[in-house]
């Protein structure tokens, strides 16, 4: 009897073979109690299998999305967003006027520089054969253990141009062709510091500024 009940459940599990199904069928023919029991089990299983999948209340997804914790984006996605993300510029009249003044002053300054060529703010020695100029950069930081200069002339590598210290003042001579360069000092390998003696600065796009160096022959 016990074995037949186990076979009955095997049938309900959908795992019984033909022979096992025949044994169950034969047992039920002679045993009305077993037949009743199997019928009750079949009824229960049928009710379960016919029950419909339920739909959650409206706005379920929106509520889940609203309650999600903020996940900080990965470095890769932030870089992707920085490079390819679209931006909306918001402006008002005051900003427009200020921008116009800056553009005007820049144009006048550039045109004057072309009329009256000047030396760089830093002393330089020209070398006509290479058409490069030796430029000395200096930076006072007595506490620093190590200072390097990184800029677009060395692809912003922090280990390419280490500066030398003399009495707390760091200096380096760079051979640069005429042009305009951006650079920054890297103190102890981690802190990026703008040159306090630079002739100009530009936004570095990361909330700080780079120094701007103009090299003329």
């Amino acid at each position: 009897m016990g074995n037949e009940r186990e076979l009955m459940h095997k049938v309900l599990d959908g795992a019984a073979g033909d022979d096992e199904k025949k044994i169950v069928a034969r047992a039920m023919e002679t045993d009305s109690e077993l037949r009743e029991e199997f019928s009750g089990l079949m009824n229960a299983v049928r009710m379960l299998e016919e029950s419909e999948r339920l739909q959650p209340p409206p706005a379920f997804t929106a509520e889940v999305m609203r309650r999600l914790p903020q996940r900080s984006p990965s470095i890769l996605s932030r870089l992707r967003e920085f490079l390819f993300g679209s931006r909306v510029l918001r402006w008002n009249m005051a900003t427009a006027l200020a921008t116009a003044v800056i553009v005007l002053v820049s144009v006048i300054t550039v045109s004057r520089m072309h009329r009256e060529p000047t030396m760089t703010a830093l002393s330089g020695v020209s070398s006509p054969a290479e058409k490069a100029v030796t430029v000395r950069l200096t930076f006072s930081s007595p506490q620093a253990q190590r200072v390097a200069v990184a800029g677009d002339f060395n692809k912003w590598r922090t280990d390419a141009h280490e500066m030398k210290r003399t009495d707390g003042v760091w200096s380096i001579d760079l051979k640069l062709k005429p042009g305009v360069y951006s650079y920054s000092f890297v103190v102890d390998g981690k802190s990026w510091v703008s040159d306090p003696g630079a002739e100009a600065y530009e936004d570095d796009g990361f909330g700080s500024h780079n120094a701007v160096l103009r090299v003329n022959i």
């Binding site: 379960l48 029950s51 889940v64 984006p73």
Partner: protein
């Protein structure tokens, strides 16, 4: 063909998960939409309470989002989600306490909570089925739901619950027997 569809669905879901991990939470709504009925049905069948099922379903999706880093790529997202929902159901039911003993089928009584009107409407089946499920011990109930409502095979239920197939079969056996008795006591005749 079905295998290919399953693989497509799995790789699609994995792409969505990677997007979420890359900081694009909006794409998670695709997974919520896809599985909300499954999750809500399981929670409702386990708890027997629509408000509780809604809260628990939402918390399950939020927990799954928070744990996406732990998701094992190559496994089924639905199985992982099932296990999260079930764990939450177990915690919830532990708090409200299961009152029915796991092994003593003779303790099952006709549902005296039914008024005559409810008893009449109980004939509609849906109501009485849920009442009957509510009376099963939680560990039997979850196997019965996964096996006969969600129609999963024992291997998958094992992956979800962490219980061996042989133990699951025993629970299904006992759960079905209990369910049969409860339905008979409630006056649901054989179809």
């Amino acid at each position: 063909m079905m295998r290919t569809m399953n693989n497509d669905r799995q790789s699609d879901e994995e792409a969505i998960i990677r997007q979420c991990l890359d900081g694009d939470p909006d794409s998670y709504s695709l997974l919520v939409d896809r599985y909300k009925a499954m999750v809500y049905t399981l929670a409702y069948r386990m708890l027997g309470d629509s408000d509780g099922a809604k809260d628990l379903s939402q918390e399950s999706f939020i927990a799954a989002y928070g744990g996406l880093k732990q998701f094992k790529f190559g496994s089924k997202f639905s199985s992982w989600l099932y296990s999260i929902v079930l764990n939450k159901c177990r915690d919830y039911l532990r708090q409200v306490k299961d009152t029915v003993s796991t092994d003593d089928i003779s303790n099952i009584r006709p549902d005296t909570g039914l008024s005559p009107e409810q008893a009449a409407s109980a004939r509609e089946g849906k109501y009485i089925l849920q009442k009957a499920l509510n009376r099963l011990p939680a560990d039997y109930r979850e196997v019965i739901i996964l096996k006969h409502i969600e129609e999963l095979d024992y291997q998958e239920i094992q992956a979800i619950t962490g219980t061996s197939v042989s133990a699951l079969k025993v629970r299904a056996y006992r759960g079905r027997e209990m369910l049969r008795k409860i339905l008979e006591q409630a006056g649901v005749t054989h179809g």
